[in-house]
Structure formats: structure tokens, C-alpha cells
Amino acid sequence: MDASNYLYISALLFTIGAVGVVVRRNAIVVFMCIELMLNAANLSFVTFSRINGNLDGQVMAFFTMVVAACEVVVGLAIIVAIYRSRRSASVDDASLLKR
């Protein structure tokens, strides 16, 4: 079977994740959408690894996972901190930057 099919699905998932980041207000869902995008990228890495016939892509995907883990840890900590102070997990409520 043609490996590029995986790439198409990766692109679709990435796009869906991007839309999710924009349209969802719940910080946790937003976060999950980001994870979705990362995972989509990982799928691409793995597919490219297969296409190119070496393991570099898989190593990259591995690194991405670690980075994603870090990001989740920090990001969720932030969500908790925000939730503590504002009693809300909606990203729209954290808009102090606006004039």
C-alpha cells in the first residue's frame, strides 16, 4: 500500500487540530488539539522514516513525544494556576492583554 496515504491523513488531522485550537474555548480541549497536531506531525515523521528507509524520522518522533510531554506538564500546570485564580478554564477569560 502507498505510504503517502498516511501523510494525507496526517495533514487532515493536523488541520483539524489547528481548527480546534481556534474554535474551542476550553483550555483543556485546546491543549488536546495541540496534542493532536503534534501527533499528526509524528505520524508524518514515522511515514517519512518508512519512505526514506532509515530510522531518523522515528527518532525525531520520539523527541517530539518528549517535547510534547514537557509541554503538557507545563501547560496543564498553567491551566491549573489560571483556574485557581479565575475559576475558569476558558481561554477567553484570560485576556488581560486586551486594551
Binding site: 488541520t15 481556534v22 488536546m32 517535547v67 514537557c70
Partner: protein
Amino acid sequence: MMQLAIEVGQTATPEAVMFWILGPLAVLAALGMLLVKKAVHSAILMAFVMVVLAVFYIAQDAVFLGIVQVVVYTGAVMMLFLFILMLVGVDSSDSLTETIRGLRPIAITAAVGFGGLMVSLLGRATLGRDAIGLSAANADGNVEGIGYLLFSRFVWPFEVISALLVTAALGAMVLAHQPRSSKKTTQRQQSINRFRGESIATAAGLPAPGVYARHNAVDVPALLPDGTPAPNSVNASLKARGDMLDSNTFDLKKISTQVEEEK
């Protein structure tokens, strides 16, 4: 697109079967993530997508990553998500109406454009390229291969990323940590407060919250001898949260009548 359709018709390997079943499911699950109201449902759908991806990894000779995907993502990360979800309120469901004017059309248009262009580009870039396959690279086993690369060519990024991980852990602690708002009182201070405070009435300690058989009584104030509730018998944090109940609800007289009625 035609090419794609032809290929779909022609490929009938087990992998293709797996792909054409799981792939659409994953996309649907991802779309579902956007559309469901409750975050918990989103999380479950997300977990499903991740598992599908793990399957895809394994199907593509990335056994190690597939396992890690299940263990780390579906196991650890998603648990973390759910945990936080529980912390901030599992019941809350999002309103899906958009509050920022014009955002949704922009996002959807941009996304459609983005996805379309991406697919188009991918089609152009990969068409006619045969996958080499990983059988050669995985000759010594997938885990060994990745392990070899990690500790040879990518050892420097590997070390850096470990530092990042440690930093992230520390960062999370710092962020989530709440400093004390007031200084912790020593025992000595407490006893001084108790005996030399405003009133000696509480010198023997605050009254304990009332205990009623029909309710977990910590959030119900004790009743004073004259029958009035004593609010200071309830824990301050419960009071602050608004979780204190009215003790009249559990008035003995009412209970007794109810009992009589039951009889």
C-alpha cells in the same frame, strides 16, 4: 484524486484494509473532538485517535514508537488530561457558540485552504515515490536501531531534551505551587491567640460541627444550647466555598415528625 481512487481499489493488502478502516475512524474521532460539548468526551475521542495512531506506527514498522505512544500518550498524558479535567470540573460543558466575531469563518476558511493546499502539495511531492521500507534499517530490531541512533548521532539532542524534561518538571512545580498567603502560626502563637485573644470563650476550642445521622455533618453547624446554629463550628474553608448547610433543615423537631409520619 483519481489516482488515489484507483490505488484504493487496487490495494487490498492487510495493511490497506486496516488503514481504510481505522483512518476514517480516526478522522471522524478527531472531528468529533471539535464538535462535542463536554471536554471529557473530547478526551475520550482523543484517546481513541492516539490509539489508532499507535496502530499506524506499528503498521509502519515503528514498533517501539507504537508502544511508547500507547504507554506515554494514551497512558500517561491522557491520564494527566483527565486528572486536570476532574480538577477543574468534569461536569462543565462548553457552549459552542462563538463569542469572537468572525473568528469561526476565518478559522474554517483558513483551515480548509490550508488542508487543501497541504494535500495538494503532498500529492505532488510523494506521487510516484516508492517507499524504501524499513526492513533493512530494522534488521537488528527496531528498538536497537533507535537506541543506537539515540546514543550515537542524536546523543546531544537527547541530552538537551532530557534537560528540557527536568526543567519542565520543575517549571510545572513552580507554576502549580501556591505560596502561603499568611505566615504559618506556631503552636506558641496559637495558644497565645487562644488565651489572650479577644474573648476567652473559645479558650477551650471551637465547638465541633454538629453531628447528624442523616448527613455528613462536617458542613453543618453545631447547635448551641438555645437551639441556634454556631457558624464558627464549621471549617472556614467550607464556609468560604459556600458549602455550609443550614442546620434548620436538620432541626430535631422536623426529623421527629418525619419519623412519626413514617411510622
